[in-house]
């Protein structure tokens, strides 16, 4: 069943405003999505009625806050189809999730001479923690190259795999190009030689069905704010046996079983990795974001976004001077492009003058920009509340801007 986009738009208060005298057109969804009213109200409701520290309090408010907090974890269990609810760990975001894994799993299990494989389209968050680990351990970072279309070179990946490969940390969907990577194949091949696989799901979890058991990934990390949820909150999934084998990330409250000055024993999952008072209000509000996705259905959301992607790709491609960056066969609703003779910053600023919000620059993927020999791109990314008429406005503005240098 197709979605009623007008009704959905009604749930997002932020969309109903003017920017620079024009109706706001928000096409920066790959950076962060807007929040439905249910999420905003849940956050305010929590602080008005339920605010309390969780898990240890003996009073009613603490009990309520704990139940609502843990309810989000349960929602995530079905959202990702994890085997156990304790495999869901709350973090600050995708970046912290990767750093957590590098600092705990990485420090314990990666040794000198071992190899970690990432790809040429990674976000800096999935490059730098591994560079730091490799430097510390004397391990080697290997990079899967990509084609001009922005697709992984799987043959090159095959040739990189060996008994030295300990971890493959790969982006599920590229934030810059929109490419959906063949992660099932990558996971199967990595497992065949005994390597573990971490999926960076920052861009995939909001658009695709991500079933961690059917994918069989060892880790999955993502951020709540790209799934209509609050900022400063993320999720790390890990298989129980792996999480159990890992040392804790940070020490403090919540994560301990018993502390004496001689020895501390650590708490069970998931608390072992959630030291200190967590981001309770945002976790509870995130539950409402997951309910928003479940209510509309990921398949219906994806179908709408695919329609927008196809429409925008066809219309923008007609513009003289339009240079698409990333033309993979399998993409989510992200269009990166340049205008011949123009800097992406300038294009972005002129679109903003028309009320259109896009992202410009290197999108935290500098090595990818180097691969394409460009400084940056303009990136328009679509979400469930965007419409074809908004794309018409984008196309009209881009046409006008492109004419400056492409007569």
């Amino acid at each position: 069943m197709s979605l009623n986009i007008e009704n959905i738009r009604g749930e997002f208060p932020i969309l109903h405003q003017e920017v620079n005298g024009r109706p706001l057109i928000y096409f920066d969804n790959a950076a962060t999505t807007q929040k439905p009213l249910a999420v905003i109200e849940a956050l305010s409701h929590y602080y008005k009625t339920d605010n309390s520290n969780i898990h240890r309090g003996a009073h009613t408010l603490a009990d309520r806050a704990t139940r609502y907090y843990e309810n989000t974890r349960s929602l995530l269990q079905s959202f990702l189809n994890t085997k156990e609810v304790e495999e869901i760990i709350f973090t600050k975001g995708t970046t912290e999730g990767i750093n957590l894994i590098a600092s705990t799993y990485g420090r314990k299990f990666i040794n000198a001479g071992d190899e970690i494989i990432i790809s040429a389209m990674e976000h800096h968050a999935n490059i730098v923690p591994w560079q730091m680990l490799c430097e510390e351990k004397g391990a080697l970072l290997k990079i899967i190259p990509i084609s001009d279309m922005g697709e992984l070179d799987i043959e090159a990946f095959d040739s990189m795999l060996s008994s030295k490969t300990k971890l493959v940390s790969i982006v599920h969907v590229s934030n810059t190009l929109g490419t959906i990577n063949p992660v099932e194949e990558i996971i199967e091949k990595a497992h065949a030689i005994g390597a573990k696989v971490l999926l960076d799901g920052a861009q995939s979890t909001s658009h695709l069905e991500v079933d961690v058991q059917s994918l069989d990934c060892d880790f999955l990390v993502f951020s709540a704010h790209k799934l209509y949820g609050p900022t400063g909150l993320g999720v790390m999934y890990g298989k129980r046996e792996i999480l159990d084998s890992m040392p804790p990330y940070q020490g403090g409250g919540e994560m301990i079983k018993e502390v004496t000055f001689e020895k501390t024993t650590y708490n069970e999952l998931p608390f072992k990795f959630e030291a200190g008072t967590p981001n309770i209000g945002d976790v509870i509000a995130f539950g409402k974001a997951l309910e928003f996705i479940n209510k509309n259905g990921k398949n219906a959301i994806k179908a709408h976004e695919d329609e927008l992607l196809e429409y925008a790709t066809v219309q923008l491609s007609k513009i003289k001077g339009f240079i698409p960056v990333g033309t993979a066969k399998n993409k989510i609703s992200v269009i990166s492009f340049n205008i011949n003779g123009m800097h992406p910053f300038d294009v972005g600023m002129m679109l903003d003058a028309n009320g259109i919000a896009v992202r410009t620059g290197h999108h935290c993927t500098q090595p990818l920009m180097q691969r394409f020999g460009i400084e940056g791109t303009v990136r328009a990314s679509f979400s469930v509340y965007n419409t074809k008429s908004e794309i018409d406005s984008l196309v009209a503005s881009v046409s006008k801007i492109a004419k400056i240098k492409n007569k």
């Binding site: 620079n20 005298g21 123009m342 800097h343 910053f345 300038d346 600023m349 002129m350 003058a353 028309n354 620059g361 400084e375 400056i404």
Partner: protein
């Protein structure tokens, strides 16, 4: 014309454009197009102004106690911004440049037009132009 007179001229020009953000940006880009060419060899790492998100190269030379600036950028809007600064400051004595209060930037509402990132870049350009003036004045006084 004095520095202040040129600034007033710029303020008048921007006033004609009114509140229309799009035409203002187009106008700034147009100004950038008129910036005198900078020799390719001057677009070097050492002439890049730090603190700008886009690339901006700036050089200064002195003759008859006047400083002449040349600049370029890889983005047209930034080129337009620096062309305004050159129009106000180039061909002046180090003393005039050091003392110059560039109130036209605030008066034309540049901060709102270009946003905070580019405003920081613009401040970095002004700082570098003044640093050149201080250096030349020190040299002239030596």
């Amino acid at each position: 014309m004095s520095i202040q007179e040129i600034q007033n001229e710029i303020i008048d020009e921007f006033q004609i454009l009114g509140d229309d953000r799009e035409s203002t940006i187009f106008y700034i880009m147009e100004l950038g197009g008129k910036l005198p060419e900078m020799p390719e060899e001057d677009k070097s790492e050492e002439n890049i102004i730090k603190g700008c998100q886009s690339k901006v190269w700036l050089t200064a030379s002195e003759s008859n106690n006047k400083i002449n600036y040349l600049a370029d950028s890889n983005t047209d809007i930034t080129k337009g911004l620096i062309s305004l600064l050159i129009r106000v400051l180039s061909g002046r004595s180090p003393e005039e440049i050091i003392k110059a209060e560039l109130d036209f930037i605030e008066k034309i509402g540049m901060g709102n037009i270009i946003g905070s990132q580019r405003s920081n870049g613009l401040a970095a350009m002004i700082k570098q132009m003044k640093l050149y003036a201080i250096a030349y004045q020190a040299k002239l006084n030596a």
